[in-house]
């Protein structure tokens, strides 16, 4: 059952940036599979019994009983610095999931999609891109990815530009603080003009997935509505602080 805490072992880890890494976890007792966009809750227990739990999006389709998450280190955070810098292969934690049946993309759907990610908000969108590739989906994906600088990009090998062989997938990266050499766009927030140019017109009725920090999500969702997108086709996932509840 999804609501059950189950033990998981860290069996693989990969740096994405200086401050983020992807963790491959093997689930004891197997894994039922998940839909792209879903998340898990992770629970750590200290020796004195104190527990902390946080939510993390699944970043790739499951491989048998292994799942993958990508974690951004938050300064002075309770959980993320452990997951990014300290946890070692063979260490264990508890996982509950897969969770959430709304912020999900159906790989069988051929409707066009506009995934919009800010910072770590790219994680569930990457799961959609990987599922799209795995299922050989032909759905048109126009992705917009907002990130501070080239060094902070996750999955840079897989998420072009130039496009990585995923026909029908376009990725536009908006740098907010520092752009790579020769870039035409000045550093700045992802705005309505970017969404207008690099997204899809509302007439095509794309499904929009917006994920990232709360402020980013609200600004991007408002901009999509202002461009004429149907609010019912805009799905959001705010990555705010999830700590503070047991």
């Amino acid at each position: 059952m999804a609501g059950h805490w189950r033990s998981a072992e860290l069996v693989g880890a990969r740096r994405e940036t200086d401050t983020a890494r992807s963790l491959t976890l093997r689930m004891e007792g197997g894994w039922p599979g998940h839909r792209p966009g879903q998340h898990v809750d992770v629970r750590l227990t200290a020796e004195d019994g104190y527990t902390a739990q946080r939510s993390y999006s699944l970043s790739a389709p499951a491989e048998g009983d292994t799942i993958e998450i990508t974690v951004q280190r938050v300064l002075e955070g309770e959980v993320s610095p452990y997951l990014v810098d300290i946890m070692e292969i063979g260490d264990r934690l508890e996982v509950r999931g897969p969770l959430g049946g709304w912020f999900v993309w159906d790989p069988a759907s051929t409707d066009p999609v506009v995934p919009v990610g800010g910072g770590a908000g790219i994680v569930p969108l990457m799961c959609m891109v990987r599922a799209r590739r795995k299922e050989r989906s032909k759905a048109l994906f126009r992705m917009l990815y907002s990130v501070r600088s080239p060094e902070e990009r996750y999955y840079s090998g897989e998420l072009g530009p130039p496009a990585s062989g995923d026909g029908g997938l376009d990725v536009f990266v908006a740098y907010t603080r520092r752009v790579p050499e020769g870039a035409a766009r000045h550093p700045g927030r992802l705005g309505i003009a970017d969404l207008n140019t690099h997204g899809l017109p509302p007439e095509l009725g794309p499904l929009c997935f917006v994920c990232g920090p709360t402020g980013f999500v609200e600004a991007a969702a408002d901009a999509l509505v202002a461009l004429g997108h149907d609010p019912r086709k805009i799905k959001t996932e705010r990555f705010g602080p999830t700590g503070g509840h047991p």
Partner: protein, 95 residues
């Protein structure tokens, strides 16, 4: 743990997607994809689109349209308080 004053409540709010885990301890069906009609303002939308605030004791979900309190979940050890006072009407698809 201290909850931060670095952000205003609106800057910290989440979607009710994140309630999927906590509610799975109580309900057999995932409520987050359900369609909800607000009993206060008539607004219709996904349960997942409720705004969730984590700062309060426990979790509080509010209507994204009229901000009225929809659900409150507080857990203390193995005891759970669940206030569903403002849930409104839910429509669920069962697998």
């Amino acid at each position: 743990m201290t909850t931060s004053s670095r952000f205003l409540p609106e800057e910290r709010r989440l979607d009710a997607n994140m309630l999927a885990g906590p509610l799975s301890e109580i309900f057999a069906v995932d409520l987050t994809p359900a369609f909800r009609r607000c009993s206060m303002c008539g607004h219709g939308g996904a349960f997942a689109q409720l705004h969730v605030y984590v700062d309060c004791p426990g979790l509080v979900a509010r209507c994204p349209n009229c901000q009225s309190l929809v659900l409150r979940l507080v857990r203390n050890g193995n005891t759970v308080w669940l206030d569903l006072g403002g849930t409104g009407c839910l429509r669920l698809h069962l697998e």
